[in-house]
Amino acid sequence: MNLEFTPEEIAFRDEVRAFFREALPDDLRRKMINREHLEKDDTVRWQRILNARGWAVTHWPVAYGGQPWTPAQRYIFQEEMALAHAPEGSPFNVNMIGPVLCRFGTDEQKRRFLAATANIDIWWCQGFSEPGAGSDLASLKTSAVRDGDHYVLNGQKIWTTQAQHADWMFGLFRTDNSGRKQQGITFLLLDMRTPGITVRPIETIDGGHDANEVFFDDVRVPVANVVGEEGKGWDVAKHLLGSERSGIARIGLSKERLSQLRSLERRLAAEGVLTPAERERLAFKLAEVEVELRALELTQLRVVSADAHGGGANAAASILKVKGTEMQQRMTELVLELAGPAGLATAGHDWLAAAAPFYFTMRKVSIFGGSNEIQKNIIAKTMLGL
């Protein structure tokens, strides 16, 4: 056992760190530090910078633009990205549809979509959830009825993140109602400009607009846009949701937030906003959070190490998801507590103004991607045999 990174890993870390320092535009870094909302163009611009360096889609197969990195290198890359205040690329492009097309796409689909997806020439959104199908995703109903060389889609998707910006959607649609509910689901790609699609914004409690409802009214999608086989979309979706384990706990993000929390605390103390007793109490709370973050970091590294030694997939990813999201949420709670009444006004661009929206929006991380309760069901079944 050895806690230290190898000289090669440290050299890699330095290389990554130097790149982020030089390549990340100042205005983007400032927006990230101040918790400002990122525009579509911000994400596109940054992902193209990464892509030019060959680092936009590092965990894709090498043949499609990925990097032959070790699990430790993947972990270091993620951590450095967060510590450098660099935004992550579009998760829908990078983590979801890209790996799915690499694995299940036809040659034609790969040729048409992969390079464009890595460079965000196409902005993707994900059409999975429906009003009646959240955690119980397989109960989805939006129908795709075969009509010659096309499917005709009718129904509704919901919580479709950034659909307002999207060029294309990948989604799950019901092509058959006769069997088990996991059967008869088909994974389809569709151009968002197809007639019959209506996108309606959903405003969320942080005051932002990320989520949307998407309505389908006799939308015609070519049969060539099926990924995998008709009726086998559930297998494709499971592959997509099988998380990338090296960075799932988002330790880097939490560390970065912790250090910002500390500097905010120092600022407020210097301004005389915090009493000594409040500072003492907060220092104790921070120590509690830090201990758990350290424990989670080591747990993440144990998983990374096991992966490097050929340890197969297991529910450890679910543990990392649950504790990682709890940790991220705890950070936002502490920021909000620290802001106090100064955090009430949400105008302006600094941590105080962003404290409340940040807290409210981060409630989503324990809900999406399989709620933490669903993760616990998975852990109970696969690790405890319950």
């Binding site: 050895n2 747990t299 190490s305 319950l386």
Partner: protein, 376 residues
């Protein structure tokens, strides 16, 4: 960065774990608790036979020069069996003082007997009326001729009643000193008690106890530094022991959830209990991570060692309590009977939190150290 065990370490872990499972089941433990010593000389001899008592000592002292990782593996296995034998008291705690403070002559006189299982040692440091965890002592040692005269009283001396040799902390006028004291020396009075976790403890009175110059371990003011180093090693060992006790508690609880029927089904089919068991599992894994961190930090940078050990101790304090409480709750009334292993694990986990600074103590310490993560 690598968290894999070597083949030798895996073998050590499997061997000790199997030994505990095969020779130290819950009934054997109960039997040991009821004996005159309150622990099993037979089990102790077996640990000696396996070479485990010599593990952390240097090869020149007759030991194996084992690292923190090997100690972690042994302590986790002993923790699974809730072993009450003096491994922690003698090999880890008092042994730590010998390793980090004693002269070659002192080690030569004591360590071989310790490794052979023939000499029990106990560290007598805590005192009534002192801060709950401190490196200071009120017990005094004053020079007398070539030696020292020791006066004072100690509490919560783990395995003090069985000790052949006590290591006594006392203030010397130059700071804290540590003294090797024969338990049968004139002026030593030992009153045995039973810890709530089953581990025997004792109160020790020292009334004008005369010891020679060769009884002083390290310098007359060097005791605090030796203790600090030894305590960190001991905390790492306790973290591993806690992981073993927690893992065992979780296993027993999950088995119970699978077999216990209520409302016509196994109670493990209820989501409320499944999620609770998962919460336990997560605490075990977080604790295991911190036990590994603690074990790997012992020989590194001193500042990092202090932070990491304090963080580990704080984590296991919280996790141990959660795991113990949840296990008892899910067992229902069976969980609070003395006949059932889970309650005993709960008590040991509770005691581990209280030993060598509890969770609050170490969180406060972390604040003093500037946090878990050093400021960059």
């Amino acid at each position: 960065m690598d968290f894999e065990l070597t083949d030798e370490q895996k073998m050590l872990s499997e061997t000790v774990t199997r030994f505990v499972a095969e020779t130290y089941d819950f009934l054997k433990r109960e039997h040991a608790l009821r004996s005159a010593d309150g622990w099993s000389r037979e089990a102790w001899a077996a640990l000696a036979e396996m070479g485990l008592l010599g593990l952390p000592f240097a090869e020149e002292d007759g030991g194996f020069g084992g690292s923190g990782v090997e100690m972690m593996l042994i302590m986790e296995a002993l923790g699974r069996g809730l072993m009450v034998e003096p491994y922690f008291a003698t090999v880890v705690l008092a042994g730590g003082v010998l390793r980090h403070g004693a002269s070659a002559a002192q080690r030569g006189a004591i360590v071989p007997g310790l490794i052979a299982g023939e000499r029990i040692l106990a560290l007598a440091h805590d005192e009534a009326g002192q801060a709950r965890h401190t490196l200071a002592a009120r017990t005094s040692a004053r020079p007398s001729g070539d030696g020292w005269i020791i006066d004072g009283a100690k509490i919560a001396v783990i395995h003090g009643r069985s000790a052949d040799t006590l290591i006594v902390s006392a203030t010397t006028g130059e700071g804290l000193g540590l003294f090797l004291v024969d338990a049968k020396a004139d002026g030593v009075a030992i009153e045995a008690a039973r810890g709530y976790d089953g581990v025997p403890v004792a109160s020790v009175r020292l009334n004008g106890v005369a010891v020679g110059a060769d009884a002083l371990v390290g310098g007359a003011g060097g005791g605090a530094a030796i203790l600090e180093r030894s305590f960190d090693e001991a905390r790492a060992a306790l973290a591993a022991e806690a992981v073993g006790a927690m893992a065992e508690t979780l296993d027993v609880t999950v088995d119970y959830l699978k077999t216990r029927q209520q409302f016509g089904v196994a109670i493990g089919s209820f989501q409320a209990l499944q999620h609770r068991a998962v919460d336990m599992l997560m605490q075990v894994e977080l604790s295991r991570s911190m036990a590994v961190l603690a074990a790997l930090s012992l020989d590194g940078d001193e500042d990092q060692r202090r932070r990491n050990i304090a963080a580990a101790k704080a984590q296991i304090g919280k996790s141990g309590r959660m795991v113990g409480q949840d296990a008892v709750q899910m067992h229902g009334a069976i969980g609070i009977t003395a006949e059932y292993k889970v309650g005993h694990a709960f008590k040991r986990l509770t005691a581990i939190d209280a030993l060598l600074g509890d969770r609050d103590h170490h969180l406060t310490r972390l604040v003093e150290l500037g946090g878990v993560y050093p400021a960059e």
